[in-house]
Symmetry: C2
Subunit: 141 residues, 2 copies
């Protein structure tokens, strides 16, 4: 049985990546490993942590309902999300990694974040990059 | 019927992208559009052009043998490969774009080329990025 690994964060991009990863896992009859990674420490206060826990519980429920064999890992190890995702992919001999790409600049210009670049370049399997709003902004090419 | 669009160049990365795109098209029962794009002009001499033609003919044969519904387009329009790939994907309402990533620097360090970045950021559908040698070089992380 193959494995699809997805990097999940509670944002529209994270949701888009997760939705697509579920579809890919079903298509391939693969299991799905969901990695929710954050550095912890000052970036994560108690309220965030509770919200995150509830969010991941909801994801577990919906994956169960979708009939996809899955595993949800919340990692707070002080590592970059890219490191956590890549090590999970290596460990599970993933066939596919799914990541969300997000808008980064205040003016809405799309750029590739450093985590996305790290995953794209260092992954030992193909990487599927998913966006949410895929239409260009007015003024963007 | 869905459509998978792949950017093909006659390099190991291009081959890896094509192989994966064929597998994805079969998995999805989709048709495959192969885009071989170059700027033409001084970048392309007569010998290259003949080699390229023979290469594409071989690809057509192997896609036919694989039983994948396909279309091979050789584009010499003076446009960036990213532009050609994105416009083909738009035009065919592609469900997936497959691209190869290649090593770029003389010392073997992996970086994302500008065409890959363009496609990743501007595509209106998910993009699958494929590498050939996915093991890090000695000295690379």
């Amino acid at each position: 049985m193959g494995t699809v690994v997805v990097g999940y964060v509670p944002t529209p991009e994270g949701r888009a990546a997760l939705d697509r990863a579920v579809a890919e896992a079903r298509l391939r009859s693969a299991r799905l490993v969901v990695i929710n990674s954050n550095r912890g420490g000052r970036d994560l206060d108690a309220e965030d942590s509770i919200r995150s826990e509830a969010d991941l519980a909801a994801i577990r429920d919906s994956l169960g309902a979708a009939g996809v064999q899955h595993e949800v890992r919340q990692l707070v190890r002080g590592m970059d999300p890219a490191e956590d995702l890549l090590s999970a992919a290596e460990e599970s001999a993933a066939d596919l990694i799914v990541i969300g790409l997000r808008r980064r600049t205040p003016v809405g210009k799309l750029i590739l974040g450093s985590n996305a670049q790290e995953v794209l370049l260092r992954a030992t399997c193909p990487v599927l990059a998913v966006k949410t709003d895929t239409r260009p902004e007015p003024g963007e090419r």
